[in-house]
Each structure stands twice: as structure tokens, then as C-alpha cells.
Amino acid sequence: RPLTSVSSSNYGIGDELTPEDKILTHNNFYEFGTAKTDPYKNAQGLKTRPWTLSIEGEVDTPLTLDVDELINTLPIEERIYRLRCVEAWSMVIPWLGFPLSALLKKANPTSRAKYVAFETLYDPKQMPGQASRFAGGGIEYPYVEGLRMDEAMNPLTLISVGLYGQTLPPQNGAPIRLVVPWKYGFKSIKSIVRIRLVETMPPTTWNLLASHEYGFYANVNPQVDHPRWSQASERRIGAGGLLSAKRIPTELFNGYGEQVAALYANLDMGRWY
């Protein structure tokens, strides 16, 4: 369904947009299968209404919110962000949504809230990857992710409810997902049902599966290679055919250093990848 926005920003990065059809047919969403083509094929039946999101844990006002109410109350912005996958491909996507900080403030986090833990819907009946370990790539479900509180409150951190002027398609994480543009794509958890503010660093799915390959922070960093491939460059998925793609140098923090580098001033990013 169409979704209108009150403002649009690309944060000074004027890259050409990835065409909508590529964003809709090339997805990592293992709940619907591990091949890039699986989510588009298998997610169309996902029931995204009604959908409630709960915000709980270290908050003064725990909330259970209906997604449509949320979309209607918070002003929707368009944010054109780079998305850098840990597999060394990237896209440029016009997201629609609102800052996570605006949502969290509604729940009044307590002073003990140091991290934010996110959880995807767990529904093996709707998600074949959760029903079978074979189809789901052998990862533990529900998918969980997390951010440090200051990362979560950074103005760039977006809760997305749409892209390209429409509400989110199921394969892209409908009806509500996270977008953290300076981190590898797997941090940007899809189809969220629960947000929990916590005192200690929460577990994250890919880190549980292979901690030496996927860290908690997962900041885009051309100097820290994945153990099995280089992160120094990336294949940008743009308009045009297979051979017209470009391999471009990867930028530290995916090019958003101006906005986020200060968050990591005291962090050894070789150790805390």
C-alpha cells in the first residue's frame, strides 16, 4: 500500500538507487529459505495485519503497539541509505520510517537500559525456515539482534515500515524492521515483534552461530576481513544487467563515519568487529 513521507534525506551520499525489482527479489531472510530468491517466492503469504510490537524490559512505560497505529502517529520520513551485506554486495534503498529513538522514548527507558534486544516473529507455520532446520540454514530461531543504547538512540538508526513509497513487502521484513546503515545487513533485523531494553549485551543470532565470523558490533569496516573473504570492496547492485555491476571500495562505517564514528572512539574495532 502507498505510504507518504514528510521529508527525504540521503545524508550527503548521492549514490544511484538500486532498482525496486532488485530490492524485492534479492533478499536474505532465512526464515523463508537460504537462497536469495526464496524470500520473494515463499514470503508472500506472511500475515502482517494485525501485528503488534511490544516494548518491554527496562522501561517505565511498557507498550504494546499496533503497527498501523504506529505508522499513523509517528511522522514517516524517507531515508536513502546504503545497505552493505556482510557477503560483500550492497544496495542503495529509499526506506520509509522513523527514528528508533522516537519509538523508544515513548516507553521511557530507565537508567538501567544499556542495550536494546530485538526479536523477529516466531511462527513456523508461516515461516518454512523455522519449521525445518534444513530450509532455515541451521540457525536458531527466533532471530535476535541487539544494539548498544547509544547506537539505538543515534538519529541514523531507523525503524522502517516501507520502501520506494510503499509499505514493506514481506520479503523485506514487513511490517516493521530495523535499518542500521553503518552496520552489516544482518544487524537490521526483520519482521520485529518484540523490543526489550536490557542491562547486559544481548545474544545475537549470527554471533551465536559463528562468533569468530560475526561480532556483536558488525560495523562495516574495510580493514577487518571476514575470515573467509575480503571486506575491502563490495559489488554494488545497481540498474543494468549482470555485467554492468561495479566493484567499489567499501567505506568505514559504510560512509556514515561523520554521524557515528564518535560512538566507537574508545573501542578496538579489530577486536570488537
Partner: protein, 208 residues
Amino acid sequence: MTLTQGRLLALKTLLHLCFLLPLLYLAAAVQGGAAGGDPVQYVIHFLGMGALHGLMASLLVSPLARWWKLGALVRVRRLLGLWTFAYALLHLGAFLVLDLLGDWALLLSEVVRRPYIVVGMLALLILTALALTSTQGMQRRLGRRWQRLHNWVYLVALLAPVHFWWSVKSGWYEPALYLMLCLGLLALRPKLWNFKSFQQIVTNFNRG
């Protein structure tokens, strides 16, 4: 049943189609969008799996020939091996052209630094040597050494599934299944079980 000239020809034609048609399907899937909005990984994976299937088919020939007492069956082995090589070469080509976008320097640095690529390259190198010496002329010229050289395919049968396993981000079931199948195909070779003849093969490996 005997394998007459006509039947052998029919079988060979069928096997050629088994490798040719998937390539046509792949081209159509890329063109028509069935391979997704960004088919790079799809193409690479498809070709790699094709090579693995070809390898397993070629390793199945001599056990089948033995069970069915059909010596002439081994005459399809060359085409299976050459198709395996072709798929493996296309697999590397797709990685280099579509994923790395022709960045040779990146390929070389990846080959040196990434163990799963080293393993894959080693397997391809062996397949190249086997393909180049697959003609009857080379077989005659190499004499006894030809069989020794072509025993290296047993090593490929280990390297290829290991390369597959190592390359996936998660989900070990499928690669584990392929490794088991490859081990099974090796286990069907009595000469690899017999310690003495196994030793002989290893000695031959060492001698090259």
C-alpha cells in the same frame, strides 16, 4: 544386456543433454528473472553444484560397470569428466567475472588468503590436468602413468565437498550429505580399501 554401439551412442547423447540443458535453463532463469534480481550467487552456486554432480556421476561409472558387468560403460567416463571440468571452469569464471567483476588482483589475493578458495582451486587444477590428458593420444603416450595421474580424481572427490562445506555461511546438512556421498563413492573402490593397493596409490601420488 550388452552395450551395443547404438545404445552407447544413445547413452552418450542423453548424458550430454543432462549437462547441456541445465546450462540453457540457467541462461533462461537469468534472463527471465527466475534466478532473482541479482543472480550472481545463484549462477555461481548452480555451476558449482553442476560440477559436483558431474564428478559424482563420473565416479559412479566404474562401480556400475563392475556390478552390471558392462565394461563398455567406462566409455562414458570421459565425457562426464570433461563436463565436470567445464562446469568447474565456468564456476570459477562466474566468480571472477560476475562477483569479483574481473578484479584479478582481488582473485589472486583471495586465492592465497582464503582456505576454501585454495581448496577449490586445487581441485580445479587437478581437473585441468585430467582434462588435458583425457584424449586417447595422451592415454597412449602416458602409458601406465596415465592411470596414476587420473587417480588424482579421488583427491578431487574430497576437495570438492570440503570446498562446498567451507564456503557456506550456515547450514551444514547439505554439504555434509555431499561429503558422505563422495566418501561413499570412494568406498566403492576395493583398491582404496585394500591397504597394499592403497599404499601403492599413495606412493604413485608421491611420485606424481
